[in-house]
Symmetry: C2
Subunit: 346 residues, 2 copies
């Protein structure tokens, strides 16, 4: 396991092979995923350890990626805490009721994290199958993203109600964000207990915030989750969407920063180098839109990303957002092969 | 009209009154709007000159704003060009079929802009009602945003198909973006012919682009629209959402830059001052999420925005995105009164 190029990169070490994996690699782009998931809802699949392990391993078997991100959903810790949440097909997470008033926040925050043993079991089954060849990456949703779903009650574009709450009732917001951090920590620990060797915090909606609001109302609870992983000796990757103007804040308390496709990787590395004395470790940032382009266009784009990544102390190749659901999986398989072949001979 | 604080600001002149208007001020937040619109679809309302004029005037009568943005929709020029588009309730613009292949692009681009007389008539009726007191602001959607709707066929989060097209088929993309610029120019000219005194270009989706992609694939067609207005002697405001990292590009060929709520206004002004010798004129950027906050929180936020705006040569106060549909209209009325009262005594 010590020779895993993915874990090496998270120690700031550049090995012979550039590690590569894909956000949302376990998912609808794979026919074997669609077959295995048939007849089960998203949350049922996440709560079935054998199925979650199978779905986690599928992209490793097919593509030969360097990390196995555990198949789950950022809503799972809310479900395990007893929150009334479902993932509606074609819509996304939908709550039984939004959490907005002090009374609603108090009721929610009275909940414990619940029994996470199905998560630990799912990760342990995955580790048993993959052995020492491919490390399992745990993950959780960042407190702002979880809280935004809880306050809005469903997906929204601007997260207006959540952003209003943080200004209108800062104490209530802080309580809510802190509770979200606690359930994400519990979810992280359950994955680590099963054998996860690294952890990624996803802040899908942070790009709807101003830098000042992120720093004041959201960064503290995200850092709480990152620090909890760090305290367990687990390296962390912190990824946000549309957060190019606050990568320095995203790098605080994180081992590596995930860079989205909108942000120039070379610029991101310069910014990180200017604010940190530690090794600069980045993950990203192939534009998912390029996966549908002719091979020579995709190849040129990947070359640009790899070349930019050489300015960092270590680089984990990934997309700059999740795998689109109608991606041709062969494109991803060939991409992994080309990256492994090239960096070994390069 | 020469004393309009809005038009003065667009000449870089700071008058006694800070001009204020709201993006999407004519809309669902007003009960008189919901009454007037009852029984008509969005596009029918836009194509009825008397109704469009009435809806344009409503927020001027109610709030006393300093500019009357013409009631219409960025999809109207596509409809007038004969494109099969409807605005589905709760969904947004939906095309009969997406435009993706060269053949589909060629078919679309064979269309002329169509008869725009209902637009000119609607603006003229508005100008007749408002007289010299409140100038009418015309607008259009930026070519990228229009093209993204055409390629996707409906609203999407990441505009993947559109962004794939620009890389996979740059010539086809350029033809499409250029055609979108042409229909936006026709729409702008129709509004100017009716008496519009200024023009805003809206790029709602530009924030889904990297800076490099915006510069290469989208900025040229947007500049074509801005220059066409400039050639008519019409001052322009260029507004994008999530475009804080490319405000310098947004300011090219624009009289003023609209700053979204995510971007710190003071920082935006510094960036613009560092790249331009012309007067720095900004519009924005009250966070719409603040409209639902207690009065003292909103007041403090508005003070911060006004203070930041003093670093520009001129400032048009506005939201940093559109009026949310469930905004209490009295909050907006009071906001306008407070701004007018304060800046006159300040």
């Amino acid at each position: 396991m010590t020779t895993s190029p993915f874990l090496q990169a998270l120690r700031g070490v550049r090995g012979d092979t550039l590690p590569v994996w894909f956000m949302r690699q376990a998912g609808r782009s794979l026919p074997e995923y669609r077959r295995a998931r048939a007849g089960t809802t998203m949350l049922e699949s996440c709560l079935d350890p054998a199925l979650a392990a199978e779905l986690t391993c599928q992209p490793v078997r097919r593509h030969g990626v360097d990390a196995a991100v555990f198949f789950s959903d950022i809503m799972v810790p809310l479900k395990l805490a007893g929150v009334d949440v479902e993932i509606a097909l074609g819509v996304g997470p939908v709550m039984g009721a939004p959490t907005r008033t002090d009374a609603e926040i108090a009721q929610l925050c009275g909940r414990g994290s619940g029994d996470q043993s199905v998560i630990t079991d799912g990760v342990a089954l995955t580790v048993r199958e993959l052995g020492d060849t491919t490390p399992v990456l745990g993950f959780a949703g960042a407190p702002f993203t979880l809280a935004a779903y809880l306050v809005e009650g469903r997906p929204s574009r601007d997260h207006l109600a959540a952003r209003t709450l943080m200004h209108a009732n800062p104490a209530g917001w802080q309580r809510l964000a802190n509770w979200c951090a606690d359930v994400s920590v519990a979810f992280m620990k359950a994955q680590v207990a099963g054998g996860a060797r690294a952890f990624q915090l996803f802040d899908s909606w942070a790009g709807s915030l101003s830098r000042a609001d992120y720093a004041k109302y959201c960064a503290p609870s995200s850092r709480k989750v990152l620090r909890a992983a760090h305290d367990l000796g687990i390296p962390t990757i912190h990824f946000g969407v549309g957060t190019g103007c606050m990568l320095d804040l995203f790098s605080e308390d994180a081992t590596a920063v995930g860079v989205d496709y909108r942000t120039d990787l070379r610029t991101a590395i310069s910014v990180l180098r200017s604010v940190h004395s530690e090794p600069v470790i980045v993950q990203g940032n192939i534009d998912p839109a390029m996966l549908g382009c002719p091979p020579e266009v995709l190849e040129a784009h990947i070359n640009t990303v790899i070349t930019a990544g050489r300015n960092a102390d270590a680089h984990i190749l990934n997309l700059g957002h999740g795998v689109p659901k109608d991606t041709d999986p062969d494109v991803l398989t060939r991409l992994v092969a080309r990256v492994h072949e090239r960096t070994a001979n390069d």
